[in-house]
Symmetry: C2
Subunit: 277 residues, 2 copies
């Protein structure tokens, strides 16, 4: 297993983890502390422009590890969903992101039939996959916790996401893969088997945070690694066993953390990455 | 498919749905409206005594449909967990309940390894199963939504629950089965297949409510049928197809509903049962 205690190289910070900082502050903070990768969101690019974002990364020497995010493919308006995603892919390519996260979209607004929503996701990803190859930005399907099936994602397990990958990209081109985020996947009885099934070609990103007991808010009460009940190291062990040598990204939506000084949150991310992940 | 519009016979009300009423008020209300079954909780029996509870049911002619609840089998103290469940089974037998719901218990307090918690549940259910046969009260494993894996149940899918049934009771004795509650199971991509796998021997109870978008509280913001995004009739169709002819129980934990007059909640349960389920 990779020893992370003295190795910050694999660590990335998702910008949502330290919302109290601007992207510029986050990149400066990371550069100062030896953190070498950050994942920005679309709103950063939309606010600052791709050129400025690229320059901020270049000036600090921080890598851009992923791009948040495309998806929402259950929209009854197929063309609108497709166009929005092509726009996001273009942004991701413009800033030099190495992948883009896909959040599938929840129950469709025109039918409660989840199988219809899921079928739409597969069909539209199939079309979007061609664009991903054109822009050379892999699409990474991020299964979300089943508690988001209503409004955010009808893809709720690695198994589903990998079925989609197999259907769309049987050649394992690397332009379609999955994100394993412990927050979304930790409860899954088939998690280990599905990580092994994915292999390193498919499993291109590993996200960490923790599940708090009690969780007081379904969106913004994720925990810092070590503060909850997830066996994070156990899951990381499985991910290591398939030869995963990529980025380990800290992505925590938390009002508790947003209320702290950004510097303190970053220090805590690093410490827990070294001791708990 | 059973036509429920003019048939209240299958309908049961879980006492937690109308908490603003005492058990006596609930049974009176149900009897007045032609609802023939109610599921009480352990605290009713502990407060009133089994004899009094039995008399309340007998006096109103309402059936006792289930008993809430046993379980919490991931407790490091195996003997304490077992004894508590035998006590609950005895109560269930004393009041004449036709089954007892089992909520497995969440991540164990002494290890974050979910496979350990799940193994404990299987082993201890295996032991408890003997008592269930002695008391003639079937144990019904209720998989809970994955968002309860931390604190309430490490059994999160019908698939897991049925694996446990197959391991413990391969003869399908009917003293071990499962509850399919749409709130917990609706998101599951394998739900249909697992309902078919269960068959009517195993699937002994069907619970309905709805998933609200947004859900503001993980415990007490379940929705009245029809107010959320679950395709309840679609799931009921599958349950009907396996020949399920048992009770359809309305179990809704909701602060919104608790704030209304009990009479209004009961009327709404009946109306939505007839039109949405």
């Amino acid at each position: 297993m990779r020893n992370l205690a003295n190795n910050l190289q694999p660590l990335a910070i998702n910008a949502a983890t330290i919302k109290q900082w601007s992207l510029a502050q986050l990149l400066d903070g990371c550069a100062r502390r030896g953190v070498t990768a950050v994942t920005p969101w679309r709103h950063h690019v939309q606010e600052l422009g791709a050129a400025k974002v690229r320059r901020l990364f270049a000036d600090t020497g921080v890598r851009i590890s992923g791009y948040c995010r495309g998806g929402f493919l259950t929209n009854p308006d197929a063309q609108a969903a497709h166009d929005e995603n092509v726009e996001a892919l273009k942004e991701a390519a413009d800033v030099g992101a190495t992948s883009m996260a896909i959040v599938a979209g929840g129950v469709a607004s025109d039918t409660k039939d989840l199988s219809v929503a899921r079928q739409r996701v597969t069909e539209r990803l199939n079309k979007l996959f061609e664009q991903a190859k054109t822009y050379k930005v892999p699409l990474l399907i991020e299964p979300l916790h089943p508690m988001y099936a209503g409004d955010r994602s009808c893809v709720n397990t690695l198994s589903q996401a990998l079925d989609m990958c197999d259907a769309i990209d049987p050649e394992r081109s690397k332009y379609l893969g999955v994100i394993c985020d412990v927050y979304h996947c930790w409860w899954d009885p088939y998690l280990k088997a599905q990580i092994y099934r994915a292999g390193k070609d498919r499993l291109q990103a590993f996200h960490v945070c923790d599940w708090l007991v009690p969780t007081k808010d379904m969106l913004n009460d994720r925990g810092m690694m070590g503060d909850g009940v997830i066996d994070i190291r156990g899951i990381r062990h499985w991910v290591d066993e398939i030869g995963f040598d990529g980025i380990i990204e800290v992505e925590i939506f938390s009002e508790r953390l947003t209320a702290l000084p950004g510097e303190d949150v970053l220090a805590l991310c690093i410490e827990r990455y070294q001791t708990v992940v």
